[in-house]
Symmetry: C2
């Protein structure tokens, strides 16, 4: 049996996987004070006889093995968590070997080996929710040279007429600031669920996301882009993004990149909300096998 | 002994390296018709008793091992070379095992193992000359998921007042179109060598390059960025780029990325014009040792 944790900013999911990758048991904990949370996690796994543990956590995380603070949460607006040694404290509480990565990288690992990315050598996973994060993998190697990428913060071109205040506290015109979930509320004062997909707010969001995907395509050239997160759960949202991407592909990229057909290139996750947990399972299994 | 080839759009350099990485002999050939060039290359290496060969070539190249046209030059404005099977024809002519990659990736390999990148886990190499190309490496793995990246073609923000026509035939506002060598001539009708570094053309170029480096930093997060190519040979050019990058770092990135000091982050190549040849040598040696 293997343990997997998806440690999010609002909730923590802990799961026990069988050897062959089935979820045997799962629990959810509200994210609160880190020491209390770790104690609860330790309690859950105590009786489970897991061989090892894989963790996908919110961040920013220090993923540099040579760093003094390897495995620590860095500066985060999330109260109490800045400088918390997630890796060290979980290891003490659960008492097995563990591997950890960012939440988005864990989802990518799940999809790359078991989901929408499994036919490919390389894949990009982008999650569009409260924030925007992305992770890239090639030949099984996650891109994280100097730490996890900050792909959600690239500059985009603000659309004339879109007067919304950026929801990113650092940047006025970054992708996360103009296309993450809260930007929809800021434009309409309505939740995304209550709005019709024809609302202009979704069209703005789709355009910025397509701009971002174009930039990622030039730089990373993934074979497939998997889009997850709350905003993509909106019925019709992926189609809007694909339509905007096709427009950019024709009129701005000018078909310069030898891109696959957009229906194959930009896709939803196969594993839905379980991608991160499966990623944790694969990381745990990988420890035991190596 | 190992063979190394730097196959550029205007000249081809062939070198013979000793086991311990010294250049023993070198020749230069003008790039012309591919079959004639390959014959000359074969003749040069015929008497050299090399164990294997590493090649860095202009492109775009098909670097996908599963492709029917693996090792071919793809669509190129370079006369006669489109669809030429560089890998296959060189193998026939030189009769040793060979490995090949793009010219910029070969330079990156040289710098990563023997030059300005050798202290780092990850590095980005960008060459600014007739065109702009870049290549990224992490833990020894070159980024080339779906083929070589096309990082030079990302969109940049045109500076108000810069009316130059883009020199890229595909894009009006891409980095290569506004910041490669020919853009300097197009703005001034002078060669870069004859101009003072205070000329506004260099300031424009530096600003666009700094914009590009910011985008690469968000997405790739390399530990070091090595800048080569003709435009960087201009005395004072690197300093201009660093000054512009510092400005963007403070006022647009808003110090969000935990970047190293710019003097360590943005550097010139250590191996100068030999980086590509050293890269070819390392690739050749790697074949023989594996």
């Amino acid at each position: 049996m293997y343990g997997s944790i998806e440690l999010g900013g609002t909730k923590i999911r802990c799961a026990v996987f069988s050897e062959d990758g089935k979820i045997e048991e799962e629990t959810r904990i509200e994210t609160d004070k880190p020491y209390d949370n770790v104690k609860e996690i330790g309690k859950f796994f105590k009786t489970k006889e897991i061989k090892s543990l894989g963790v996908g956590a919110f961040g920013p995380l220090d993923t540099n093995k040579n760093s003094q603070t390897y495995g620590f949460v860095k500066n985060t607006p999330k109260k109490y968590w800045t400088n918390f040694d997630i890796r060290g404290e979980l290891k003490k509480a659960v008492k097995v070997d563990l591997d950890f990565t960012s939440d988005v990288a864990a989802s990518l690992i799940g999809e790359y080996y078991l989901g929408a990315g499994k036919k490919y050598r390389s894949a990009l996973y982008i999650t569009v929710g409260t924030g925007i994060g992305a992770s890239y993998i090639q030949d099984g190697n996650i891109l994280d040279g100097f730490g996890a990428p900050e792909m959600g913060h690239i500059k985009v071109d603000r659309i004339k007429g879109d007067k919304v205040k950026s929801v990113c506290q650092y940047h006025d015109d970054c992708l996360e600031g103009l296309a993450s979930g809260p930007s929809i509320y800021n434009r309409t004062l309505c939740s995304g669920e209550s709005l019709d997909i024809s609302d202009q707010a979704f069209s703005y969001v789709a355009t910025y996301l397509a701009q971002g995907l174009a930039t990622y395509s030039y730089i990373l050239r993934p074979e497939v882009i998997i889009m997850g997160g709350g905003v993509l759960n909106k019925e019709g949202m992926l189609d809007l993004v694909k339509t905007e991407f096709d427009r950019i592909k024709e009129f701005q990229i000018n078909n310069y990149l030898d891109l696959p057909d957009t229906d194959y290139y930009i896709v939803l996750p196969d594993l839905g909300n379980e991608a991160g947990l499966y990623g944790g399972y694969l990381m745990a299994k990988n420890i035991s096998e190596n």
